[in-house]
Amino acid sequence: TQLLEQSPQFLSIQEGENLTVYCNSSSVFSSLQWYRQEPGEGPVLLVTVVTGGEVKKLKRLTFQFGDARKDSSLHITAAQPGDTGLYLCAGGERDAGNMLTFGGGTRLMVKP
């Protein structure tokens, strides 16, 4: 069974600060997705990375897939209150069909 460890579990910061969320595994994933989930809503897909070393940017969010495809990070620059939510990483395995292994989630609160 593959595991994804996500850290930190909780993060409370002031508006304008930068932050990084990490997702680590001892196993290789074919792809890695990042989702953001707001209270009372379903997770919304932010990005998918599939190539080792890949970096993708989405406005103030930067996503990186590790060279060995075992880890990923999400960096937010100048966080805003609208970034508040639960961030989930999820890894897909080539031999597991379309099943995803989820990290435990990072609950982010950005205070104005």
């Binding site: 379903g42 997770p43 099943m99 435990g104």
Partner: protein, 114 residues
């Protein structure tokens, strides 16, 4: 817009009273999933359909059943809800293709058991 729709958004039921949650999709994806999510935790997969093939997770209680009458619709039946079944239930879809394992989630149904 192509999307995943869940109804109702909020469902209240009584202990032991059967309840059905519904999910529909306009993405024409061949895989549909049901997840259970408790407060601030990651979603937990209950089962999924690959086309009409049903796949149950080993630790999904027998109390949970599912139906997929066609490509667009999938239902979650909870035969005798207990207090521990109160949670957010998420439906998701995906299309099998290469290394991309993207799943697209609906807005969820919040189930309360009284």
């Amino acid at each position: 817009d192509a999307m995943v729709i869940q109804n109702p958004r909020y469902q209240v039921t009584q202990f032991g009273k059967p309840v059905t949650l519904s999910c529909s999709q306009t993405l024409n994806h061949n895989v549909m999933y049901w997840y259970q999510q408790k407060s601030s935790q990651a979603p937990k997969l209950l089962f999924h359909y690959y086309d009409k093939d049903f796949n149950n997770e080993a630790d999904t209680p027998d109390n949970f059943q599912s139906r997929r009458p066609n490509t667009s619709f999938c239902f979650l039946d909870i035969r005798s809800p207990g207090l521990g079944d109160a949670a957010m239930y998420l439906c998701a879809t995906s299309q099998i293709r290469g290394a991309n394992h993207e799943q697209f989630f609906g807005p969820g149904t919040r189930l309360t058991v009284l």
